[in-house]
């Protein structure tokens, strides 16, 4: 079989070679040069440029039409709503620039395709024009910068509210652990040297504030309409805590604690009733049925978004946004790690 393919390839190469030879010889007879651009070539490529523009723009609108409703749902956090508004303004602006600039480019490419007797206009510079397209982008960018930085400062500011919830997200290859401060409202201090089988996040076993801390795997809960302050740590390599539905993302860096805060505004239950989310899940479940997988319901997700090793693609955790009452009820059922750590401390 391989031999056959090889022979086929060799024959193909010989055939192409002979063909080229014939073309070459015939051209020598005609005394024309293949590489010289004729008016016909210009006309063809000029029209092709215009045709490409229509194809390209149709493709663009086709994609928007077909895939726009696969985008993330509207932001489920307070700052995210602002981010989305700014996003929309920016997207409209750049789509406009993208369409107009490409249209002008391809139109000129068509309109001024070379003709035999025409001559180009000697037009080397024009200060007024150049001023216009220096100043207009500068002004537009000034607005973008001002709004962007205003929101950025708000988003990255410290968590202010009194009833804020502090949660630690602890990343390692390849899973997440959420740590809640427990009744005392304080996260216990940590020391990476004390990590072992029974102390996965490296709590300082002598620090009493850590005794009532709560460790959660696979799925963690947060209350709606309260400020959540995340403190991120990593055990081994850089990870990134990406919570796309909340427009939240921050790297987890070994050796330092990074923070990100947001205030969720929609509970998981509310999201599941949102018409946009329902159509999104319909699409997902349709594909899952095709692949022979079971149907699923919407869940907020925490993803790893910084390359961290072989199972980088498989490092997520569900987030459940509860009403405050449900949250308190859930939290009260979780067990503190106290007994274990005290025991291991005493053994030492």
């Amino acid at each position: 079989m391989k031999l056959l393919i090889l022979i086929g390839l060799v024959l193909l190469i010989i055939a192409v070679h002979q063909l080229m030879r014939v073309i070459e010889l015939s051209r020598e007879l005609k005394k024309t040069r293949e590489w010289q651009v004729s008016e016909k070539d210009n006309r063809f490529n000029g029209k092709a440029m215009l045709a490409f523009m229509f194809l390209f723009f149709s493709f663009f609108f086709w994609q928007v039409n077909r895939w726009n409703d696969k985008s993330l749902p509207d932001a489920a956090s307070e700052h995210g709503v602002k981010v989305d508004a700014l996003w929309d303004a920016n997207i409209y602006l750049i789509t406009f620039v993208f369409l107009v600039t490409n249209a002008v480019l391809f139109y000129f490419a068509y309109k001024y395709s070379g003709k035999k007797d025409s001559k180009a206009t000697f037009f080397a510079h024009n200060n007024k024009l150049e001023m216009i397209w220096t100043i207009v982008p500068a002004v537009a960018l000034a607005f973008i910068i001002i709004f962007g930085l205003k929101y950025w400062n708000e988003i990255t500011d410290h968590a202010q509210e009194k009833d804020k919830v502090v949660i630690e997200l602890y990343a390692k290859q390849f899973d997440w652990t959420a740590r809640y401060p427990g009744k005392d409202g304080k996260l216990g201090s940590t020391d990476y040297r004390q990590i072992d089988g029974s102390n996965a996040v490296g709590l300082d076993t002598l620090d009493e504030t850590g005794f009532d801390d709560i460790l959660i795997k696979n799925e963690f809960h947060i209350p709606v309409n309260r400020e959540i302050e995340f403190k991120m740590r990593s055990r081994d390599v850089i990870h990134s805590a990406f919570m796309p539905h909340f427009r939240a993302q921050m790297n987890c860096v070994p050796g330092m604690v990074t923070t990100f805060k947001f205030k969720p505004i929609k509970t998981t239950a509310e999201m599941r009733k949102d018409p946009y989310v329902i159509q999104l899940m319909d699409g997902i479940n349709k594909q899952r049925a095709k692949d022979g997988k079971e149907a699923v319901e919407f869940d907020y997700l925490l993803l790893c978004n910084k390359i961290c090793g072989a199972s980088h693609y498989n490092m997520q955790m569900n987030i459940i946004v509860d009403t405050p009452a449900d949250y308190e009820a859930w939290l009260s059922k979780q067990k503190a790690i106290k007994t274990k750590t005290v025991a291991s401390a005493e053994v030492k």
């Binding site: 192409v16 293949e34 590489w35 651009v37 210009n42 490529n45 490409f52 493709f59 895939w67 696969k70 993330l72 981010v83 700014l86 920016n90 620039v97 993208f98 002008v104 480019l105 000129f108 001024y112 070379g114 025409s118 001559k119 180009a120 000697f122 037009f123 080397a124 510079h125 024009l129 150049e130 397209w133 220096t134 982008p137 910068i145 962007g148 930085l149 988003i155 040297r193 055990r235 081994d236 390599v237 850089i238 993302q249 790297n251 860096v253 070994p254 050796g255 330092m256 999104l280 699409g283 997902i284 594909q287 692949d291 978004n305 910084k306 390359i307 961290c308 072989a310 980088h312 693609y313």
Partner: protein, 608 residues
């Protein structure tokens, strides 16, 4: 050495030395000194180009392999098994570690070996002496070393594909601790060491080349070639070389510190790490330091890749519209502005790394500033087309393709530069789409344009035009088919560097997007076979070139169609005007070569 001396002398001196040159030509050169350890800028240029073509084919094949996995995860492909063998492609399914390795090496090869070494190496070497009217580079020997360092570095990078643990696989940005700790992934063992060695040699090559380019442009311009008469290609190569010389040493130090951390127990980038079942001793370092050092090169690198392509297309667009480039001085000004700003924007890669958010604000400001000179360049290109008489050579097609991709990819940069908006799409496919279009496509289109345009100078023959057309249109359509849909993956929140998107439900509805991307990638890759055929066939069998096939003004077209030492058989040409007198009123032809003296009362440059 005669040619080296002759280059920087004045007019009369050069005439004297020209005899020496003829003497040189009579000598039969040995195969080794002519084709292997050549010090001739034209031969070195060809060596860079062919090495880059080989590297590009390898990197493109890698992308096809991982694109197949992304579109049809877990499916069995004989192709994957044939390429990777039973270890990495068992039963034709790509191994997750190998997936990361392919992504990493694809990025490394494309960014450094193809678009830095290949693009600058080929065209700076070919065009700097030709277009400024010099006999060769300032130092032929350093130039030769530059290529051979590049060659060795390429070989080491390729060797790393064949070792037991696989090549480096921490992403082309090789962030530690992932890249520093052999326990973190198999690719961080020997593969990473080889990556660092290879890149260190690459940096040496780049520095030797860059210094040579700068010295040559500043010192060896022929009589009358004022800085303000230089073609924009040369300006682009000059600024590129300066960026490289200022930023690559930082990458070298960054790599050296990583080598120390890996093999000598230092803690520049490491702190508080527990891995492989034990806590490490390293305390006090910070991976964020690495990111600062890396991106201090990494961002100028984007422009090191892009500026030569912009320079090349400036020249080609002007020649083929038969018009002067619009706003020559504004083009130089914008390139200088881009070059300067590129050094103070690196932090926009790091908004979410734990860097102080206020610092982030500063980088938002500087990054958005860089959009202004970029916009000026794009609009100036478009105005150059206006009322032109466009000659559609394949090179011209690719140049227009570059302007389109530069705009299309550039506008999404405005989103990503805005730290607030970056939170949502950072490290998603939106970023992948952005940089592949604005940097990847633009630069590769510029490179194709350059190859088609200067093929007569490179190999003294012409490439086939019709195949060039076919190549362009297939490539252009497929390129947007590959990278445009990726924006929508990003909008859906799909992270980069995921081995599969079907491991959990969130991205199950995006299968069709991934399939379109991969199908376009495969067709686009096959279209490159047309180019490869045209390239190698024309090299030996193409039509013989004429002296000035595109009726161009620049000096390289005043040289005879032959490979001679010293480029010009007699004295060096004398320059009397700028390079863009196309369709100048009152002239007989629609081009006036730079060597034609100004008539009485005629103004030089585009003014007045």
């Amino acid at each position: 050495m005669a040619n080296v001396h002759a280059t920087n002398t004045g007019h009369e001196h050069a005439v004297h030395h020209a005899h020496v040159h003829h003497h040189d030509d009579d000598h039969e050169e040995s195969f080794v000194s002519k084709y292997v350890f050549s010090m001739d800028h034209k031969m070195i240029s060809r060596q860079f180009l062919i090495t880059a073509v080989v590297m590009a084919v390898i990197a493109m094949t890698m992308s096809i392999i991982f694109r197949m996995q992304l579109a049809w995860p877990g499916e069995k492909f004989a192709f994957i098994n044939a390429m990777l063998g039973d270890k990495w492609g068992k039963d034709g399914v790509l191994d997750p570690n190998m997936y990361l390795a392919l992504v990493t090496i694809h990025g490394t090869i494309m960014v450094f070996f193809v678009l830095t070494g290949g693009l600058s190496g080929t065209f700076s070497n070919l065009l700097i002496p030709y277009q400024i009217g010099a006999r060769d580079m300032a130092s032929g020997f350093l130039n030769m070393l530059s290529y051979w360092f590049f060659f060795i570095s390429s070989c080491i990078m390729l060797t790393s594909l064949f070792i037991e643990d696989g090549p480096a696989s921490g992403g082309w940005t090789i962030y530690p601790p992932l890249s520093a700790l052999p326990e973190a992934m198999p690719g961080s063992k020997l593969g990473m060491t080889l990556w660092l060695v290879s890149m260190s040699l690459f940096i040496v090559s780049s520095l030797l080349g860059g210094l040579n380019y700068i010295v040559t442009i500043i010192n060896l311009r022929t009589k009358g070639m004022k800085m303000t008469r230089m073609p924009l290609t040369i300006w682009a190569f000059l600024i590129t070389a300066i960026l490289g010389v200022l930023s690559f040493p930082v990458l070298l130090s960054c790599a050296l510190l990583l080598i120390f951390d890996r093999s000598m127990g230092t803690s520049f980038y490491l702190s508080d790490i527990y891995i492989g079942g034990r806590p490490l001793d390293n305390v006090g370092g910070s991976p964020v330091l690495f990111e600062h050092l890396f991106w201090f090169l990494g961002h100028p690198e984007v422009y090191i890749v892009l500026l030569p392509a912009l320079g090349i297309t400036s020249e080609i667009i002007s020649t083929n519209t038969r018009k002067p480039i619009f706003g020559y001085r504004a083009m130089i000004g914008s390139m200088l502005a881009i070059g300067f700003l590129s050094f103070i924007v690196w932090g926009h890669h790091m908004f979410l790394t734990g860097m102080n958010p206020f610092l982030g604000s500063v980088f938002v400001f500087t990054t958005l500033l860089i959009a202004i000179p970029s916009a000026v360049k794009a609009f100036n290109y478009i105005t150059t087309l206006w009322k032109g008489n466009i000659q559609y050579t394949p090179a011209m097609l690719f140049s227009i393709g570059l302007v389109s991709s530069f705009v299309t990819g550039g506008v999404t940069g405005i989103i990503l530069a805005d730290s607030t908006l970056d939170i949502t799409v950072h490290d998603t496919y939106f970023v992948v789409a952005h940089f592949h279009i604005v940097m990847g496509l633009s630069a590769i289109f510029g490179m194709f344009a350059g190859v088609y345009h200067w093929f007569p100078k490179l190999f003294l023959r012409m490439m086939n035009k019709k195949l060039g057309y076919l190549h362009f249109w297939l490539t252009f359509v497929c390129a947007y088919g590959v990278f445009f849909p990726m924006h929508f993956l990003g909008l859906a929140g799909v992270p980069r560097r995921y081995y599969t998107n079907s491991n959990f439900p969130m991205f199950d509805n995006l299968v069709d997007i991934n399939e379109i991307v991969t199908v376009c990638a495969i067709i686009g890759a096959l279209a490159q076979v047309i180019f490869l055929f045209n390239f190698f066939y024309s090299m030996f069998r193409g039509e013989k070139a004429t002296q000035n096939p595109w009726n161009s003004n620049t000096l390289e077209w005043t040289t005879p169609v032959a490979n001679i030492h010293g480029n010009w058989p007699g004295s060096l040409p004398v320059v009397h005007r700028w390079a863009y007198d196309y369709s100048k009123p009152g002239q007989e032809h629609d081009f006036v070569p730079q060597t034609v003296p100004l008539a009485d009362g005629e103004h030089d440059g585009g003014g007045h």
